[in-house]
C-alpha cells in the first residue's frame, strides 16, 4: 500500500504544471511569453543598429565629398587624392579627359589639370545638391552631386562651369573612400560674354598626361543637350529616368 501511495504522488507530480511567472501577453492573436517578447525586441535592436550605421555612413560620405570640393578649390591635389580608395580600380574621370586609374595616377591627373592652380588662377568648386544611396550591406555607396565652378585667371575672361558628379564610394577598414569620381560638364561658358554667346566644349585629354582609358561616355556639353545618367531610379515611381537623345516631341 505504501508503495501505491508513493506511485500516486509521483503521478500527481508528473501531471502538475508549474504556474507561469508572469501573465502572458497577446500578440498577433497568440500568446507569447515575456521571454519571447524580449527575444523579438532584441532582434529589432539588432536591425536598428544596422539602420543607424547606414544613416551615419551617409553623413560620412557627405563629409568626404565636401572635403573633396574644399581641397580641389585650394589646389590641394595630394590631399584630394588621399580621399580615394588605395585599390587599383579607383578612378577619376573629368569631362572628356579620359579615365585615370589608381591613386598615384589620380594624383598625377589632379596635379596636371583637375586641381592645378596656376598663379592668379581661381577654381571655386562648391559641391551641392546631394542624392546619396548607401548599399544595404554598408560597404559601398553611390552619390550624385553638382558643382557650379567659378574659374579663370586674373585679368582674363572668367569661366562658368556647371555639371553633375556621379560618384561611387567604398568602405575600407571602416573608412569611406571615393572609388570612382566622374564629373560631367553640362556647360562651360565665358563670364564676359555669357554662356549663350560663348561656350566651350567639354575638356579633352591632357596632351602631357594621356589617360589610362578613353572616356567612359562620349557626349558634348552645351549647346548640345546631354543628360548624365542617374545611378538611381525615380524615388517615388521606381521608374528609370532618362531622356532619349535626340529628344523627340513632347513640346506643347
Amino acid at each position: 500500500m505504501r508503495s501505491c501511495l508513493a506511485a500516486c504522488l509521483a503521478a500527481a507530480a508528473l501531471l502538475y504544471q508549474p504556474a507561469r511567472a508572469a501573465e502572458p501577453i497577446v500578440t498577433d492573436s497568440r500568446l507569447i511569453t515575456e521571454e519571447r517578447r524580449v527575444q523579438i525586441l532584441e532582434a529589432k535592436l539588432a536591425s536598428l543598429q544596422r539602420e543607424i550605421d547606414l544613416i551615419e555612413d551617409r553623413k560620412a560620405i557627405e563629409r568626404l565629398q565636401q572635403l573633396w570640393g574644399h581641397y580641389v578649390s585650394e589646389g590641394m591635389a595630394h590631399e584630394a587624392a588621399l580621399l580615394f580608395s588605395a585599390g587599383p580600380a579607383a578612378s577619376i574621370e573629368y569631362a572628356q579627359q579620359g579615365v585615370y586609374l589608381g591613386r598615384a595616377r589620380i594624383e598625377a591627373f589632379l596635379k596636371a589639370g583637375g586641381a592645378r592652380l596656376q598663379p592668379g588662377e581661381l577654381r571655386e568648386t562648391p559641391v551641392m545638391q546631394a542624392v546619396v544611396h548607401v548599399a544595404p550591406d554598408g560597404r559601398t555607396a553611390k552619390g550624385r552631386w553638382r558643382s557650379l565652378v567659378m574659374g579663370g585667371v586674373q585679368g582674363q575672361d572668367g569661366r562658368w562651369e556647371e555639371g553633375p558628379y556621379e560618384n561611387e564610394y567604398v568602405k575600407e577598414g571602416g573608412v569611406w573612400k571615393i572609388s570612382r569620381l566622374h564629373w560631367y560638364t553640362t556647360m562651360s561658358g565665358s563670364y564676359d560674354k555669357g554662356w549663350h554667346r560663348q561656350s566651350y566644349p567639354a575638356a579633352g585629354p591632357l596632351a602631357n598626361l594621356p589617360p589610362d582609358l578613353p572616356p567612359s561616355e562620349r557626349y558634348q556639353s552645351f549647346p548640345s543637350f546631354f543628360l548624365p545618367p542617374f545611378h538611381y531610379l525615380n524615388p517615388v515611381s521606381g521608374q528609370p529616368v532618362a531622356w532619349d537623345y535626340p529628344p523627340t516631341g513632347s513640346t506643347p
Binding site: A11, E35, E42, Q66, Y191, P223, P235, S237, S250
Partner: protein
C-alpha cells in the same frame, strides 16, 4: 486501502505515465520555469543607450547643418534680431579683415552697422549669401563643434551695383541646454567683385568692401591675409591626412554611451523604449530621404522631365510657382511641367536646389524643407538669364514613401545675363497663356527690387522667435 481503491490508483498512475508523453507532444511549449530575464534586459538597455548616442550625434550633425543654413536665410534678409538669437552670449564674429566683434552687444552693433542702424532690407537691396558645402566636425564631448562652409555672395543695390563674391567660413558652435548656437563665426573673404567685370578683375580693395560695418571692432583681425588674386587657404580645422577617417561617433571608450537611464525592468518597458528609438531613427532616415527627393526634383526639373518630376508628388498635391497660381493634383502638375518645354539642343535650364533646411514632424509622417532655387537659363546665341528664389515645400509619408504634398516657389529675381540683378529684374511671372491655375497664387508679393521674405516653416531654432 481496498483492492478496488488500489486498482483505481494504479489505473490513474498508468494513465499518467502513458498520457504524459502524449500531452507533451500536444503542447511542446510546456514552459520550463520562467527564466531570469534581468541580464538580457540589462544588455538590451546598454544597446539602446549605445544606438541612441549614435543617433544623437547624427541629430547634432543635422541640427548644425540647419543652424548655419538658417543663419544664411536670416542674413539674406538682414533680419538681425533673428541672426543675433543664433549666437551664444560670449560669441564672436569676424568677417574678412574687418576685425573681431566679441560678445553679443558688439555683434549686434556689427550687424546693425551693415544696414545703417536699421533691421531688414530696404527697397532695392539684395543681400544673398549662399551657405554651401559643409564639412562638420563634432567634438568628442558632444558639446562643441566646428564646420567649414563655402559661401557665394550675390548682392547689390538696384540701379546702383551688383556683386559676386566667394569665401570660406571656419566656424565654431556650442551646445547650451541642449541647443546648438554659433560660438564663433569667421568668414574668410576670397573675392568680392562687381558683376560687370567679374572675379578675374577682383582686387584687394574691391574684396575688402565686403561685410564692412560702421561699428568699430573690438580687436584686430585674428589672421592677416591677402585676398584673391593672392593665393591664401583659410586654415582648415581638420588634418588633411586624417580628415577622412573622422566618424561622427567617436570610437574611443572615453566617450562611450552613458550608462542607461530608466533601464527597463519588464519586456513592456523595453518595448516602449525600442519603439521610441525606432521613431528617432525613422525621423533621421527621413531627413536623408527628403534631401534625396528635393535634390532629385532639381535634377529632373533641369531637364523639364514632366513624368519624372510629377511622379514625386502625392495624388492630391499642390504646386505654386512664381505668380503662376495654384495647380491642384498630380495630373495638373504634370501638365504644368510639360509646359516648361522639352530639353533640346541649344537650351540650358539648370535648376539648382541648395541650402535645404529640413524638418521632420515629431510623428515622422510629415516634413518641410526650405531650399534655395538658383537657376541658369540659356538659349544658345540669343539669351541667358539668372534666377534666384526660395522654395517652401511640404512632404508626406505615403505608404512608406516620401512625396511632395505642396511645393511653393517664390520668385526673388529673374534677370538677363547682360544686365544682372543690379539693372534688371523681371516682374512677378503670371499665368501661363492658355493654362490658367485652379486657384490664384496664395501670397501677394512683388519680387526684387521689392523686399519680400518668403514665409518660414520654422521658428528660430535657438529662441523659438
Amino acid at each position: 486501502m481496498s483492492a478496488r481503491t488500489f486498482c483505481q490508483v494504479a489505473a490513474l498512475w498508468l494513465a499518467a505515465v502513458i498520457i504524459q508523453p502524449a500531452l507533451a507532444a500536444q503542447a511542446p511549449n510546456a514552459p520550463p520555469p520562467a527564466p531570469d530575464l534581468a541580464p538580457r534586459l540589462a544588455r538590451a538597455a546598454d544597446r539602446i543607450a549605445s544606438i541612441d548616442a549614435q543617433a544623437s550625434r547624427v541629430e547634432d550633425y543635422n541640427a548644425l547643418r540647419n543652424l548655419q543654413q538658417i543663419y544664411g536665410y536670416y542674413y539674406d534678409e538682414a533680419q538681425w534680431e533673428q541672426v543675433l538669437d543664433l549666437f551664444a552670449d560670449d560669441a564672436s564674429v569676424e568677417v574678412g579683415l574687418n576685425g573681431v566683434y566679441a560678445g553679443k552687444a558688439s555683434i549686434r552693433r556689427y550687424y546693425y552697422g551693415l544696414t545703417a542702424g536699421k533691421q531688414g532690407l530696404v527697397q532695392g537691396q539684395l543681400n544673398n549669401q549662399l551657405q554651401l558645402s559643409p564639412v562638420i566636425t563634432l567634438g568628442p564631448d558632444g558639446q562643441r563643434a566646428q564646420a567649414r562652409w563655402r559661401v557665394v555672395m550675390q548682392d547689390g543695390v538696384f540701379n546702383q551695383s551688383a556683386n559676386w563674391g566667394a569665401g570660406i567660413y571656419e566656424n565654431e558652435y556650442v551646445k547650451q541646454n541642449g541647443v546648438w548656437k554659433i560660438a564663433r563665426l569667421h568668414l574668410y573673404v576670397r573675392f568680392y567683385s562687381p558683376y560687370e567685370s567679374g572675379w578675374t578683375r577682383a582686387t584687394a580693395a574691391l574684396n575688402e568692401r565686403y561685410g564692412k560695418s560702421t561699428a568699430k571692432a573690438d580687436r584686430p583681425p585674428t589672421q592677416r591675409y591677402e585676398t584673391w588674386p593672392a593665393r591664401y587657404t583659410a586654415p582648415m580645422h581638420y588634418e588633411a591626412t586624417t580628415s577622412d577617417r573622422y566618424r561622427l561617433a567617436p570610437p574611443d571608450s572615453a566617450h562611450a554611451a552613458p550608462p542607461p537611464q530608466n533601464a527597463p525592468r519588464t519586456a513592456a518597458q523595453l518595448e516602449a523604449q525600442v519603439r521610441a528609438l525606432d521613431l528617432k531613427l525613422r525621423r533621421l532616415h527621413a531627413v536623408d530621404e527628403l534631401e534625396n527627393l528635393e535634390s532629385s526634383y532639381g535634377y529632373y526639373a533641369d531637364m523639364s522631365m514632366q513624368d519624372a518630376t510629377s511622379a514625386l508628388f502625392a495624388e492630391n498635391a499642390t504646386l505654386e510657382i512664381l505668380g503662376r497660381g495654384v495647380f491642384i493634383g498630380r495630373d495638373r502638375i504634370y501638365e504644368y511641367m510639360r509646359r516648361l518645354g522639352a530639353p533640346t539642343d541649344g537650351r540650358l535650364f539648370t535648376h539648382m536646389q541648395l541650402q535645404p533646411v529640413i524638418d521632420v514632424s515629431a510623428d515622422g509622417n510629415t516634413a518641410s524643407i526650405r531650399a534655395r532655387l538658383f537657376e541658369m537659363f540659356g538659349v544658345n546665341g540669343s539669351q541667358a538669364q539668372w534666377a534666384e528664389g526660395t522654395y517652401e515645400n511640404r512632404f508626406v509619408l505615403d505608404n512608406g514613401v516620401w512625396k511632395y504634398q505642396s511645393l511653393n516657389g517664390y520668385q526673388t529675381f529673374y534677370t538677363f545675363y547682360e544686365q544682372g540683378w543690379g539693372k534688371h529684374s523681371v516682374p512677378l511671372m503670371t499665368y501661363f497663356p492658355g493654362y490658367p491655375p485652379d486657384l490664384p497664387h496664395s501670397v501677394e508679393y512683388e519680387p526684387f527690387p521689392a523686399v519680400f521674405i518668403a514665409p518660414y516653416h520654422f521658428r528660430n531654432p535657438v529662441s523659438g522667435r
